[in-house]
Amino acid sequence: MEKIVLPDIKDFHKLEVYLQHGGYSAAKKAFGQSSDDIIDQVKRSGLRGRGGAAFLTGLKWSFMPKTTDKPKYLCVNGDESEPGSFKDRQIFEYNPHQLIEGIIITCYAIGAKVAYIYIRGEYHKWIKLMQKALDDAYAAGYVGEKMKEKFGTDFYCDIYIHKGAGAYICGEESALMNSIEGKRGYPRVKPPFPAQNGLWGCPTTINNVETITNVPPIINKGWEWFASIGEPKHPGTILFGVSGHVNKPGVYELPSGTLLTDIIYNYAGGVPGNKKILCVIPGGSSMPPLRGDQIEGVKMDAESLKAAGSAIGTGGIMVMDEDTDLVKVLARIAHFYHHESCGQCTPCREGTGWLEKILKRLIAGKGSVSDLDLLITVANQIEGNTICALGEAAAWPVKFMVERFRDYFEQRVSKEISLPVANKVHSMRHTAIPVEEIKH
């Protein structure tokens, strides 16, 4: 199977290797066409955003005003802060030039002269790697004013790497723009949407790192080629970050629509000890979890997962085996969203803390079955009532996990069941719940 985003080519991150394999030829090709043509090709390719919402990329680009006296901007979202998601850093490390090439093509298509790559602050190493690649591209004339000469075009754009400061919320597109502007990372009330009123109040497009990295191959090989890969309604390959109770955790680039069970059992090597799967979160921690008996036949693309009762999210697949304490898992997830809630709007600010407190109480053996109903109503009171999607991100795991594992939770709160203290879920190693508070 051909890999589009993370090809198996040694030293592909180096500019000379990238160039040997046709690097920056897509940009050259793109600059020979009109920006409308580029948008049209991306539209027809069916490329959908890889940051979580799976919105049609070409359609998003077409929202940018054609005539405006304001500068236009491109923001590339590499905040990658969703727990269970670790795919974009592979691109920063192994294929930075394809990202850069994607950025200059996108800038050309939407008419932006400046692009910002927003990378989470915790990615020190990857920020350095990305900066190195960008410096090389600048030096070689593939970015910046020298582009005109290199590509023989009037168009040029600049790219800046902006380092985040450790807030999940800055992965939300409008909070990301505020963060770049030097403001507190608060999501903005929408509308207006970024295409009308984005960065510095100017028309702005925000795309995920992986999304943009898909652009050069689409231009080079044609939209028909891309549209034929994987599921027709969500074509292309997707980077699946598999973590948790699997033998070979890691990032797997596979065509959309690959079976979830195929990913877990074939690519990721199955569950250690051949244990049963209790729960899978298919798209990063904010997406609705699936029970072990719900995953059979589920294909990994936006439409199929929606039909299965979850969502593709960032493609971060978290696998939990039968010995996992789901109350602790949920408490840890709730802790994350409580900790990361920006505190701007009431339901999320107050509700996320409440959810965590209830769940901690359940862990401490001081809960009751009525608390499960309370968890669901509190989650429902957050969902849909907030400024940004962090409300849903916090509410969904709680709501769906309690609903889908009702028997498990009822049993868990009615008596203190014995479970090994050592939690085997990788992402749970650094649980914030003090061990002394956990009674077994």
């Binding site: 990361e340 505190g343 701007q344 107050e350 509700g351 209830i358 009171q381 849909g384």
Partner: protein, 558 residues
Amino acid sequence: MPKIIIDGNEIEFKQGQTIIEAAKDHGIEIPHFCWHPKLSVSGNCRMCLVEVEKMPKLVIACATVASEGMVVHTQSPKTIAARNAVMEFLLINHPLDCPICDEAGECKLQDYAYQHSIGESRFVEEKVHKDKRVKIGPRVMFDAERCISCSRCIRFCDEIAKDSELTFTRRGDRVTITTFPGEELDNPYSMNVVDICPVGALTNADFRFKARVWDMSHTNSICIGCSRGCNIEIWVRNNEILRLTPRHNEDVNSYWMCDHGRLNTFKFVNSETRVNSPHIRKEGQLIRVSWDEAFAEAASRLRTFGKDQIAVIGSAYATCEDNYLVSKFAKNILGTGNLDFIRHIDYSFADDILRKEDLTPNSLGAELMGVKPLKNGLNVEEIIKSIKEGKIKALYLIEDDILTADPEIETYLAKLELLIVHAANFNQSTNFADIVFPAATYAEKNGTFINFQGRLQRIRPAVATIEVDRALEGMALSRLDKFGTKFDRWAQGKHFDARATWKILTSLSNAFGSRWKYKMAEDVFDEMVSSIPELKGLNYDIIGDLGVQLKLEKVNVV
């Protein structure tokens, strides 16, 4: 005009208005905390979530622009559920300390808890704890636990006071308000955050713990701190002013007033330095005397001077009614043309928000009432010069301190043969006065001021003097005024023996043998209306609570 339908009522809206604005214009209040008509939209409290047909989710009425044919439901089950949810969330970490909170009684959170909440909490966890009793600025106290993070105070500083001092810090339910490093909340308008704070998080350091708001009466009035004439309410308990708050008037002060006006223009009313009953200087000492004795003494001594030996100084602190009779008294009774008032100008006080350089409320009024030198008469500078030269031997000074006009005059005041002063408080001028009439303050009388724009505005009595009965005069009553018995210590407030300047001059003129028949300030105003063309057709009812703009030839007294 385009229309939307709110709860079945078709209402018109102006293009660009949000749902909450359109609703407000038609008297429909959509519950809200963070939205304020004069601040930018932050959309954070979520209290104004409403159901709009054909929209997938509830939307916030404060940020959703109305469009033709939009159908809004503010009382649908979905809307009410969202509102209850927001209220429950806001209250889970709120300390619920209403019994000791200054805001109680005028608290949006408290009001909405009654109106829009199920009245029970399912929250059994420990509340988040935050800082208490933070002196966030010299005049404002902050209780972080009460704060609902609506950001009104932050936006006020940024957008109205134009002095960014406040910001949020931390995240989630740990979010709190703080000042920027090295800053404190000390802009000249800082106390407005207390008014716009929908809860008891920001409180007035001066008023804290002084009274429950429902124990106070509140009376519409005008601030006397400068010639802006900010519309205010005077809050009184036990016949004592405890605080002033701004009153909305879009043509004058919007929703705001400055801290100077709020803090420095009412304490003299209940001060120890109040002149209580008339005084006559006997053997070098000011001695309390009856009103009749004071009038008789003043009339007989004034009669001994020639017209050119007398000067009268009116006051830009006094009302139009007062100044009208000052003018009439000078011209008709004393027959002098040496008539003027003292200007109090300080350019360093002015800003481009509300504050004006003229530190008196009624300069234009004094001028329009004819308090100015007649032909061949002396103005203030000339009066002072003539006092120094010994040409002026008797000075009649209304509600002002002549030493503020010229400190050097002090040594000459003793040389005056007669100095009569109307004063609310003893001051440097009363030190030299032969007769002192106790003047009622702006908070104790009816009357009008004309602000720097030429806007005529009313003041009303909020504090009763000895001759005034709150109930009989139709003054605003507090709960205690209404129900307090004579055994109730709250109803035993101090009453001063003071009268409005117009009233003092009426009695004094009659001691000269004239027949002035003014029983009320309104009687004086009615005569002003007939003799001053600019006031034609006006009466107190027309002036109302928001004032009327006069057409004046000259609108700047400076």
